[in-house]
């Protein structure tokens, strides 16, 4: 019952986010600031993780191909498939649920407990539009950084297999091109867009409607991370079933 109530409240929140817009002159700056915090600020960790996990995927694939009958290009093929289909869109989104998500929940939650949100509302500002809309808009750039992650994941895989002698550069690149289905890329970006929306809104929901003080802000961030990840995993399953199943 409690969950249904929360889900209803979440959708009411979304409706409010898109109503009564804030002046464009002010909104523009809010969006730029969020792009800086949410997108640009996430690049470092995204680059680091993508490159190394891509490398590990390649090494694992190579080590698990015992049979000499299996062609060497499979390393490149498997790396491409896992990075594009799951690692970059889903795995990175879970990490972003921790990074971006807890940042959003704690910043909005702090505004709630220090009555800054009340202050906005007293002035007649639509606080949800003011706080959440710029985050959703900034996250429109999320697919862009996920494509960076895809590229770096594959680059990491290439580096690891060439350096480790698992396959030659030519074999790896062959593998990257084999049986390439553009629809897979569409599938990956379709879910990235949905995840971007989830990453901006669920943490906002937990921050905006929290009660209590500083201690509860910390708790809300944790809860927000758990729920954002759970929803991403479930939506991932549904989209995969719908588009590929």
């Amino acid at each position: 019952m409690k969950y249904f109530e929360a889900i209803g409240k979440y959708f009411l929140m979304i409706r409010e986010v898109f109503s009564r817009p804030t002046k464009w002159g002010i909104m523009k700056n809010l969006i730029l600031k969020e792009v800086d915090d949410l997108i640009y600020g996430s690049l470092g960790i995204l680059i680091f993780i993508s490159f190394f996990v891509g490398g590990v995927v390649a090494i694992q694939t190579a080590l698990n191909m015992d049979s000499p009958l299996l062609p060497k290009y499979l390393v490149g093929f498997a790396t491409r498939q896992s990075v594009i289909l799951e690692f970059a869109p889903t795995f990175i989104s879970i990490i972003m649920a921790g990074k971006v998500g807890s940042y959003i929940t704690s910043s909005i939650g702090t505004m709630r407990v220090t009555e800054q949100i009340d202050a906005l509302e007293v002035m007649g500002v639509n606080a949800l539009n003011y706080l959440v809309f710029p985050k959703i808009t900034a996250m429109l750039l999320y697919p862009f950084i996920i494509s960076i992650s895809m590229f770096l994941g594959i680059l990491g895989g290439w580096t690891a297999s060439v350096l480790g002698g698992f396959s030659t550069s030519a074999e790896f690149i062959d593998g990257l091109q084999i049986d390439f289905k553009p629809f897979h890329v569409f599938y990956a970006f379709a879910k990235t867009v949905v995840f971007a929306f989830i990453l901006a809104t669920i943490p906002s929901f937990h921050g905006f409607y929290m009660k209590g003080g500083a201690l509860e802000v910390g708790k809300a961030s944790t809860t927000s991370f758990v729920w954002t990840s759970v929803v991403i995993i479930i939506i991932n399953y549904i989209i995969t079933q719908m588009l590929l199943g």
Binding site: T110, E115, D118, A119, V122, G124
Partner: protein
């Protein structure tokens, strides 16, 4: 003028306000006093429309808040200024940006005009050299003054202050009280102030509403509060030795 009729508010079944009726006058500093936890903040937030009352009416300028449509409510909001208990300054903005925020949000004035107005109100609250500091870089008393400046920058008709001088030393507290009273009279604002500070009651209590256990236990002015025999009021007012002596002297004088 603000009229309040039979205001009820409870949270999860436990009542906080049990039917309060009173009125707040224009151009006067109206005080709501009562112990910590007596419901002052909840009452003020009901007046502001941040909480929806369970029952009862709040009437602004002849019109019940609950019956206004969204546009009217929004217009009314823009005539309100609020100083929160913890100042509630936007901590990502400088002092100047905080004060300018309502102007940027709701007026289309040229930036030079807004700047002029911001400089004027900051000077009015005696803050002249903090324009570019962040709230975390100034003292509590200064934060309160910034909050007052932000609340009055858009020429409100109604000013609400939740314990504007809590956590301040007595001298700064009196400065803030006087500031609020001066502004109220100067611009003919309807001001409602929550407090449990007896100095404020004596200094600026033109009208006082005393809350106890969610009821209005007494109302009157600062001149009357020392004469009343209402037990709840005397227990509250004379809880300090100093005020007990003041009352003693007053009674001796009268005899």
């Amino acid at each position: 003028m603000i009229f309040v009729e039979n205001l009820h508010k409870s949270f999860d079944g436990s009542p906080v306000l049990n039917g309060i009726s009173t009125s707040f006058e224009k151009g006067k500093t109206n005080l709501i006093i009562g112990q910590s936890g007596s419901g002052k903040t909840v009452f003020l937030k009901c007046l502001l429309g941040l909480f929806t009352p369970d029952e009862g009416n709040i009437i602004y300028n002849g019109e019940a808040y609950a019956e206004m449509d969204d546009v009217k409510k929004r217009d009314l909001r823009q005539d309100m200024g609020m100083v929160f208990q913890g100042s509630a300054l936007f901590d990502s903005m400088t002092v100047e940006e905080n004060v300018m925020f309502p102007l940027k949000m709701f007026t289309n004035n040229p930036i030079s005009e807004m700047q002029e107005r911001v400089d004027f109100v900051l000077e009015r609250v005696n803050l002249v050299d903090a324009h570019h500091k962040f709230p975390s870089e100034i003292s509590g008393g200064m934060q309160k003054r910034v909050a007052i400046a932000r609340a009055i920058v858009n020429n409100p008709k109604y000013l609400f202050c939740d314990e504007p001088n809590s956590g301040l030393d007595p001298k700064t507290a009196i400065v803030i009280d006087n500031l609020v009273q001066e502004i109220t009279q100067e611009y003919d604002i309807t001001t409602v102030i929550n407090t449990h500070d007896m100095n404020s009651v004596m200094e600026i209590g033109q009208k006082i509403v005393f809350l106890k256990d969610g009821y209005k236990a007494w109302e009157g002015s600062n001149k009357e509060i020392f004469k009343t025999d209402n037990e709840a009021v005397t227990n509250f007012v004379y809880s300090s030795e100093l005020f007990k002596k003041v009352r003693q002297m007053y009674i001796e004088e009268r005899n």
